[in-house]
Structure formats: structure tokens, C-alpha cells
Symmetry: C2
Subunit: 274 residues, 2 copies
């Protein structure tokens, strides 16, 4: 299975894909648009797309890409965003003078830097890449790097400390996507992701959510996104549990009666949320 | 009236504040946290806080700050995000070789750069600041700058072209905030912004939105944000119309019965949406 992810080998998306597939061939992509392209043009069989982080919220660019692209979600995956301090083997904590990582990782590890004010933060474009550069580039500007344990393992770095992040309950949720033509509806697909627009009238959203409630579907998430060119109108992204059988077909039918644009992003087996 | 905004004089927030207040003393702040601090410590009487853009969606950092900070929304304002090409007076379009602006502005003006492939894009940290630097820094790396017409007017630049943005229906909505202790509930405050958490059970959101629907309130916007430390639970941000009188009090009462955390961000006169 060739799986496209945004990022370098060892990144959190890679870890999520490994957790989901076990064995895979990684197709690293420089940005999310390239990830979708890799799936659509057949360079990858699947894409592992982050859609939501438990601290930062929705990955809005990917919600928009999911609606625009002829892909279908065939699975979901979670990864714990655990930040590790990686060094060249033999380096001690007191020897670390400069740490490379992505700015978001620095923001998530304030306690570590408050406890080590002498350690310089050097901005890199990627967490896993900062660990790779530490191990493969002799001229790199840091002698420690913060990123995923998977990257430390891959590049042969030593992990000095784990759990550097301030909020240990930090997870990212991914959708696993395939080309839409590969959609296979299994009877055992109790979770669904879909997007729909609504007319701008009082009670429209309440009415639409009533469709799910009446069918006994559990709405696990609702996001709204603007519709370009239609200011103050929104596209809603919903994840629901229990999307199987005849009840699901009835739900879609009722939703179509209330929205002129319903897009089922995919139905897939539910992964246990961490 | 001293009004805090994030950005340089002439920025879109400044334009929004001028549209709302007419006359004001600007308190420029380097980031949103500083803007809230300026209001809370009394350096500013009001803050003009972008909460939503018609193309990009919610300004999530500000939603989180609105919930955390003891401020109250006392008004709303809209501004059209119109990008102008500013030059030093006398410069002709065919003389422009390099244009400075914020990366977001470059992304919003693809048609212009496609039509002028010879023009270099030089990244600046701010749109208004790129126009100020054009006029005040003789060593600046650009001889054109893309930003608000207000900045061109303020710094004495000449506006060569207007409406450079690909999507002309681009607007940003702001909340005008004051210290919470200044809250004055006027009977003529038909719009309200509020945030609430919900227990994780099927139908909880549908039930909560029913409170608004039953009261005849028009939900104009709903956003969800993660709650740090409680993965896959959400805080919902709602804007509603018709939030006045006894009906509003009943609505809040019914919402409190369904949520253990309701925060009224403010009630304010509605501004006409562009």
C-alpha cells in the first residue's frame, strides 16, 4: 500500500499511517494540495489527511480539499502528538544548547523552554525534518531537535526526553482517503463524514440536525466553513456515528430535501478515539 | 475614543474601526494577545477584533481569546478587504518590478501576478506596513506594495489599481469589545454572541439549537472549537439575531439547563452585513 502524507518520513502523519496500515510505502508530499494530487493521479493508493487536532481544532484547508476533490474517505486514524527531544547518540541534556523544530512545536513545549532558558530555539520547517537534519547534516544549527519519536527511531537519533508537550492530551485525527472511483460501501461502515450547505433562514441548521437526531445518528463533530463568493453563508461538515443500512439512506434523502448541496465525503469503520 | 487594533495604522482593522467610530485615536498592537491586554489594562477604551473572514473563515485565536478574557462585545463592524496597488507618486504600472505585501495578500491576488509575471513578490510582515515602508524607507526592496486604500491615503502613496483581489466579495467581520465592567445592556441590542459547551451525548447540539429556534432567534453563525484537555469535546460559538427582552432571558435560562458553561460574549446593535 502506497500512502501519501504531508511531511517528511517520521512525521506524525507517517506515524498515523503506520498505526492504521501496519506496513506501507510512504509517499511524502510537501503540502496538502500535493497529497491530494498524489492520490488522484495514482502515485499513491491512499492519503492520510489530518482533519482535526484536539488543541488547535479543524485543519480547515483539508476540509475544503475534501469537498473539492474526487476522493472518498475509507477510514479514520488517530495519533498522539507526543514531542520528544532527540539528540545525536551520546549527547547529554546539559550539552544541548540549541534545539531545532517547527514553531508550532515550540509553542506546544513552553514548560521545557521555561525550565531550560539557556537553550536556543531555532526555527525549522518541519519537526521530523529537524531530527533528520540533526542526524544527516553536519552543519545543522542545532544539537537537539523536537519531534516525533518515530523520526528519532528512523534516523537513529537518541531520545533524551519524551512528553515535552504542555498538554499531554494532544491528538490529531486523520481521514484515510482513496480515489472516489474506489468507493466500496461496506455494511460495516458505521461512521460517515459529510458536508452540506443550507439556505439562510432561521432554524435551518436546527432542522438539518434534527434529521440526524430523528434517525438516532450520533453527531460527533460539526464544523462550519465559509462558501467563497457567498459571504455569511456556510458549508457544514458533520461526522456521524451509526451511518449504516436503510436508516442512513433515509437520512441522506431527508438531508437532500433541506440542502441543495450534500456531499458524502465517505463512510468507514470507526476507529476508537484515544 | 482610543481603539486598539492588531496591525499598523492603515490596516484593514483600522479601516473597520474608522467605519464604526468615525473619529478615533488608534492604539496599534503587534498581535491579538496585545490587543486584548490594551483593552484590559485601560490603554484603549475599545478593541476592534476580527472574528470571521468571508473567504478564510473564523479567526479562531480571537474566538478563544474572547472566551478567556473579561471583555464584552458592544458592537460589530464589517470591512471590505479590497487590495490596492500603491506606489510612490509618479511611478507607472510598467515601472513596478517588485511588490511588497503579506503572503496572504499575495495568495488573494493571483490574477494580478498571473497577468504580470515579471513582477517579483517580496514578503513583508504586514500589508499596511509594506505601503508605509514603500513611502518612508528609501532602502525598501519593493517599488510597489499591495494593501488597503486607507494605508495608501495615510502614507501619501498613489493608488495605481484597486480591487486586485481575486474574490471581490471578501469581507471581514469584527467585534468591538470593551472591558466587561463597562457592560451596558441596552434594550436595543438585538444581536448577541455567546459560547457554550455541551455534554457529549447524541442530539445534544440539536437540542441546544432548539432553544434558539423555539425563541424565534435567528442563528446567523455557529463555530465549534476544541476544549484543551478534553479531546473531541467542543465549545460552540453562536451569533444570534433578536436577542432582546424577556425572550432572551428565557433563552439563556434554557441554555444554562443544557450546558455547564455558558458565556455571553456580548449583546450589541446589529450592523448591516455587506
Amino acid at each position: 500500500m502506497r500512502v501519501a502524507v504531508q511531511g517528511e518520513p517520521g512525521c506524525f502523519s507517517h506515524a498515523a499511517a503506520l498505526g492504521h496500515f501496519g506496513v506501507l510505502t510512504l509517499v511524502p508530499c510537501r503540502d496538502f494540495v500535493s497529497l491530494f494530487e498524489a492520490v488522484l493521479d495514482g502515485r499513491a493508493d491512499r492519503g492520510c489527511v489530518p482533519v482535526e487536532n484536539a488543541l488547535a481544532g479543524a485543519v480547515t484547508e483539508n476540509l475544503d480539499l475534501l469537498v473539492r476533490s474526487p476522493v472518498t474517505a475509507v477510514g479514520e486514524a488517530y495519533v498522539r502528538v507526543e514531542m520528544c527531544l532527540a539528540v545525536r547518540p551520546g549527547t547529554r541534556l546539559e550539552d544541548v544548547t540549541a534545539v531545532g523544530s517547527h514553531p508550532v512545536a515550540f509553542r506546544q513545549c513552553r514548560r521545557f523552554f521555561d525550565a531550560h532558558p539557556e537553550v536556543e530555539e531555532v526555527v525549522a520547517y518541519d519537526t521530523a525534518g529537524s531530527i533528520r537534519d540533526l542526524m544527516m547534516d553536519p552543519d545543522v544549527a542545532w544539537n537537539g531537535a523536537i519531534g516525533p519519536a518515530l523520526a528519532a527511531d528512523l534516523y537513529g537519533a537518541e531520545t533524551l526526553e519524551r512528553g515535552l508537550e504542555d498538554h499531554p492530551r494532544n491528538f490529531t485525527r486523520f481521514l484515510v482517503v482513496a480515489r472516489a472511483s474506489e468507493a466500496r460501501r461496506s455494511a460495516r461502515s458505521p461512521k460517515a463524514s459529510l458536508a452540506f450547505t443550507l439556505p439562510h433562514r432561521p432554524g435551518a441548521l436546527h432542522d438539518a440536525l434534527g434529521v440526524f437526531a430523528d434517525a438516532g445518528l450520533d453527531l460527533t463533530r460539526l464544523e462550519s466553513r465559509p462558501i467563497p463568493g457567498r459571504p455569511w453563508e456556510y458549508r457544514f461538515f458533520a461526522d456521524v456515528r451509526g451511518a449504516s443500512g436503510e436508516g442512513w439512506e433515509r437520512t441522506l434523502h431527508a438531508l437532500h430535501a433541506r440542502s441543495d448541496d450534500v456531499r458524502v465525503i465517505g463512510r468507514y469503520p470507526e476507529a476508537p478515539a484515544p
